[in-house]
């Protein structure tokens, strides 16, 4: 029994059917961790992109070092760091939050590069027009550069969304009951790993296909010339 659901081991099919609701609870956790991690990666990545592009070396250098550090170390280290070290400084977060944060942190190093490439692809003419009109530089960034960069970076960001989803099982090491962890617990208790693990594989496939389709839809829907401002 898990989450109040009994399993039925009379046949493989009955077993699969009986553990589906349990796995779906795990799936919901996986989805939540993915979404939260992705949002953190999008926000933090944007901040890092801005810092890395700062005219002052005093700002861009630490941001670059931080990104390099994050990229060159395993996700697990950042996860352990947040989970075991932060509480020593009085910051105790639930395991789920810590996990999503670690995912977001890890991927912010990658998304920041996507932002940078997207922003650099916008021609000098746009910056010059904004300058000639005397736009404040923050306004140029938020209303001229970013709206034009976003449609271009959707496909790359979509790839990272799927990657984050596939990395969520790492959170199981800090006790998060995401889908794979749930399947493993079922296996431990029933000595049947085959069925729950195959189901997790299938559910993952469905999730990634849905996510990719969503990203592609967004990609075709957004006007290529930028998020419209009326």
């Amino acid at each position: 029994m898990l989450f109040g659901f009994e399993w039925d081991t009379s046949s493989e099919l009955a077993f699969a059917w009986s553990i589906l609701p349990i796995l779906l609870i795990g799936l919901w956790v996986t989805v939540q961790a993915t979404v939260l991690g992705f949002v953190v990666a999008l926000v933090l990545g944007l901040i890092l992109a801005v810092l890395k592009g700062a005219p002052s070396r005093l700002i861009s250098w630490p941001a670059n070092v931080l990104c390099e550090f994050i990229r060159d170390t395993p996700l697990l280290i950042q996860l352990f760091f947040l989970y075991y070290v932060l509480p020593e400084y009085g910051l105790v977060l639930p395991a789920f939050m810590t996990g999503a944060l670690a995912l977001g942190l890890q991927y912010s190093a990658y998304t920041s590069e996507v932002y940078r490439a997207g922003l650099q692809a916008i021609g000098r003419d746009q910056r010059e027009a904004a300058r000639a009109l005397n736009f404040p530089s923050a306004h140029t960034f938020t209303h001229v550069l970013l709206p034009q960069a976003i449609p271009r970076i959707i496909p790359a960001m979509g790839n990272y969304l799927v990657s984050i989803m596939k990395d969520v099982p790492v959170l199981s090491v800090v006790t998060v009951l995401e889908m794979l962890n749930v399947a493993k617990i079922i296996g431990d208790r029933t000595f049947d790993y085959m069925v729950p693990l195959s189901m997790v594989g299938g559910l993952y496939l469905i999730m990634t296909l849905v996510a990719s389709a969503g990203v592609r839809l967004l990609d075709t829907r957004l006007p290529k010339q930028g998020l419209p401002l009326k």
């Binding site: 027009a129 000639a132 009109l133 736009f135 404040p136 010339q225 930028g226 401002l229 009326k230």
Partner: protein
């Protein structure tokens, strides 16, 4: 005689060893319509870009309305200007680009109204009204809600002109405003510029290869070569009786070419 509104005082600008402006002396009076002509690479665009603060200078002083553009007075000496000074100076100038440089994700109206709202502090409503008046003036009153890619090149450039005018600059800079256009669309843009040229107060500095047009609208034509002004005069003087051999060669090449 009134003071010049624009003055280049021995201005130098180079990219590495390439001198683009070479001790340039050049003045424009208030309300004057001046056309710059000259061969490719002579520094025509650079003059406009320096004025629009898109390009820095290495030497000399540029004055706009008696104030140094790229410098500030501090304790009696000139020091390189900070962003605040540049922002203040930039308000006096508007620029029309060869490639239009419209914001592709903004409607035509928003392209024009954005700066009045964000920079001048107009309400969105007042700025939209200003945009609509300008669109009326450039003959695009019915295009306010379209996006730039839905317009022809000539229409886009007219929006570009309206956008610059919305800031009510004292000086308008035009950098080959028609050279990116199909021949049949040149006329509609030149018409708008000609109408502007009839405004007494507006100072205009125009780089163009449209010699006939230059002749019609300019008070003065300046011939640039190798980063210097080699000759200047009224359109009649310069086009019918150029003094310099260089000017004669250039005019012969473009008028026959």
């Amino acid at each position: 005689m009134t003071d010049p509104i624009i003055k280049f005082d021995k201005v130098g600008k180079s990219y590495g060893s390439l001198k683009v402006l070479d001790g340039l002396d050049f003045e424009v009076k208030r309300g004057e319509k001046v056309t710059i002509i000259g061969p490719s690479g002579s520094g025509k665009s650079t003059v406009l870009r320096v004025l629009m603060t898109l390009e820095t200078i290495n030497d000399g002083v540029v004055y706009v309305g008696n104030e140094p553009l790229w410098h500030e007075q501090r304790n009696g000496t000139l020091v390189p200007a900070g962003e605040e000074h540049l922002r203040k100076m930039r308000r006096q100038l508007g620029m029309v680009f060869q490639q239009f440089n419209l914001f592709p994700h903004m409607t035509v109206r928003r392209n024009i109204a954005e700066a009045p709202v964000k920079v001048l502090g107009l309400s969105r409503q007042d700025a939209n009204q200003r945009a609509d008046e300008l669109l009326e003036m450039v003959g695009l009153a019915d295009q306010a809600h379209k996006y730039p890619h839905q317009l022809s090149g000539g229409q886009q450039q007219r929006v570009g002109i309206a956008r610059a005018l919305a800031m009510r600059p004292k000086v308008m800079l035009f950098d080959e405003p028609t050279s990116a256009l199909d021949p049949e669309l040149v006329g509609e843009v030149l018409n708008v510029i000609a109408r502007l040229a009839s405004e007494h107060d507006l100072t205009m500095l125009l780089v163009t290869h449209e010699m006939r047009f230059a002749r019609e609208v300019s008070d003065r034509v300046c011939f640039f070569d190798k980063g210097q002004m080699k000759e200047q005069g009224t359109p009649d003087e310069l086009f019918t009786a150029p003094k310099e051999q260089r000017t004669r060669d250039f005019l012969k090449a473009v008028l026959n070419g």
